[in-house]
């Protein structure tokens, strides 16, 4: 492992100052459960790490109809948050099976997104919930939809000096149900495939639907064509079979050490179908 300096700024201003001085040679670090592993593997070789853990502007879980999560919110705290378990079931289910207790005790929501693994468990639930990412940097702030945040495997729209300030999850309307499912050898593993569904039901008909799957494309993916096939219809066994086929067509998985493209394709259809079923049931 290459040696690195380690800075612990207490304000964003201080963090940006450190980053601008070492631009291209330094990286931000949150909980470190991804960054430190990649430094050890020499996948990245930063000369300095700038810890975001001690910046109070990046902390806190705030409810105001929706949810505003400071990027340094530790996953274990989100797992224990009653409001999240009640209103954003898919997100809660994802956090509960992300890695293992030791990792969840230090890993953060912002870190999980900034790491931008196509398999990131928090991504599909946040995509279907319509989450936005509040970005801040030396040049100012901006808010981007999570869908526009991921640009490739391990790639985001962050410019290297910017940080995620918060994740904004809008409140859900009445009749909404969500679900998250993950396929792995054991649930704590990196997902072979993961999937989330959100449906808004009214009088037995699906008024709105959002679907997302992970580890099936270069970025966590919204399945917009499949969504269209559900909206305005009753969720019958025939419709579920139809969306299974549509989801299979919409993903573009690869074969890697974990599993094959074919398995991912078939199982993404299965998981999406089951997630819709569970979300519809949760919607009542």
């Amino acid at each position: 492992m290459k040696k690195f300096d380690y800075h612990m700024p207490e304000s964003l201003k201080e963090a940006y100052g450190l980053m601008e001085k070492q631009k291209g040679r330094a990286r931000y670090i949150a909980g470190g459960t991804d960054v430190i592993v990649r430094v050890k593997q020499r996948a990245i070789e930063p000369e300095a790490l700038i810890s975001l853990r001690h910046i109070s502007d990046l902390r806190g879980v705030h409810w105001n109809g929706g949810l505003r999560l400071g990027s340094m919110t530790i996953l274990r705290d989100l797992e224990r948050d009653e409001g999240t378990a009640r209103d954003f079931k898919a997100l809660h289910q994802a956090v509960r099976v992300l890695a293992n207790p030791q990792v969840r005790n230090v890993a953060t929501i912002g870190g999980n997104l900034a790491n931008a693994a196509p398999s990131a468990d928090c991504a599909p639930p946040l995509l279907v919930l319509g989450a936005k990412v509040e970005i801040d940097g030396p040049g100012g702030g901006r808010v981007v939809p999570l869908e526009a945040f991921f640009t490739g495997p391990g790639q985001t729209c962050l410019d290297g000096t910017e940080v995620i300030k918060s994740v904004i999850v809008p409140g859900v309307e009445k009749g909404t149900g969500t679900a998250f499912l993950k396929d792995g050898r054991v649930s704590q593993d990196i997902a072979l495939i993961n999937a989330a569904a959100l449906v808004v039901m009214e009088g037995g008909v699906c008024k709105a639907c959002r679907l997302a799957a992970g580890a099936v494309a270069p970025v966590p993916l919204r399945l917009k064509e499949t969504e269209k096939a559900i909206e305005g219809r009753e969720i019958t066994p025939d419709v579920l079979e139809e969306i299974k086929g549509l989801a299979e067509k919409e993903v573009s998985p690869i074969t890697d050490v974990r599993t094959t493209a074919e398995y991912r394709r078939i199982m993404s259809g299965v998981l999406i179908k089951r997630a819709v079923e569970q979300a519809a049931r949760a919607a009542g």
């Binding site: 300096d5 430190i36 853990r53 207790p101």
Partner: protein
């Protein structure tokens, strides 16, 4: 880059000069000579290096040493009472054979301790979830789960 860090280690305030690229695991083993905490995969998969930081279990192999400033760290050595009496969780692992080669045991026991602190009477499913970040390659999981179930009872008897 070097820095003097001060933290609480097994109840005692300690200081050490550490390099910025060191992890907590290295500080515990090499600076303080506490070899109970084991280096395993180095990637947060196996849990052999599990310690408690401010009472929650973490992988010390991924915990930057500088971040330990002002925090409280408990290692397997710190579970033993004054008078060299084993902690109830340790006693249970001995009594139920929750150990074979012993390499995973310190990490397992630290995760079990963290679990029981938060959830004093876990179900078997909750025990398995609680140690899901700790691998045992001797496949002694049955006895490990039994040990933790027994530890829960011992701790509750002690408390009540």
């Amino acid at each position: 880059m070097k820095k003097l860090i001060t933290f609480t280690l097994n109840g005692y305030e300690v200081s050490a000069e550490v390099e910025s690229h060191r992890m907590l695991l290295e500080v515990l083993r090499d600076t303080f000579d506490f070899k109970g905490t084991k280096p395993g995969c180095g990637q947060g998969e196996c849990g052999a290096c599990t310690v408690l930081v401010d009472d929650v279990n973490v992988d010390s192999c991924l915990y930057p040493a500088f971040e330990i400033e002002g925090k409280s760290v408990t290692t397997i050595e710190g579970l033993i009472d004054e008078g060299n009496k084993l902690h109830p969780v340790q006693e249970s692992f001995v009594a139920h054979g929750g150990i074979q080669c012993g390499f995973c045991s310190p990490g397992m026991i630290m995760s079990a301790t963290a679990l029981l602190r938060e959830n004093p009477s876990p179900s078997d499913g909750e025990i398995k979830a609680g140690i899901s970040g700790n691998l045992c390659r001797c496949t002694g999981y049955v006895q490990i789960v039994e040990s933790i179930r027994d530890a829960a009872e011992r701790l509750q008897e002690n408390a009540g």
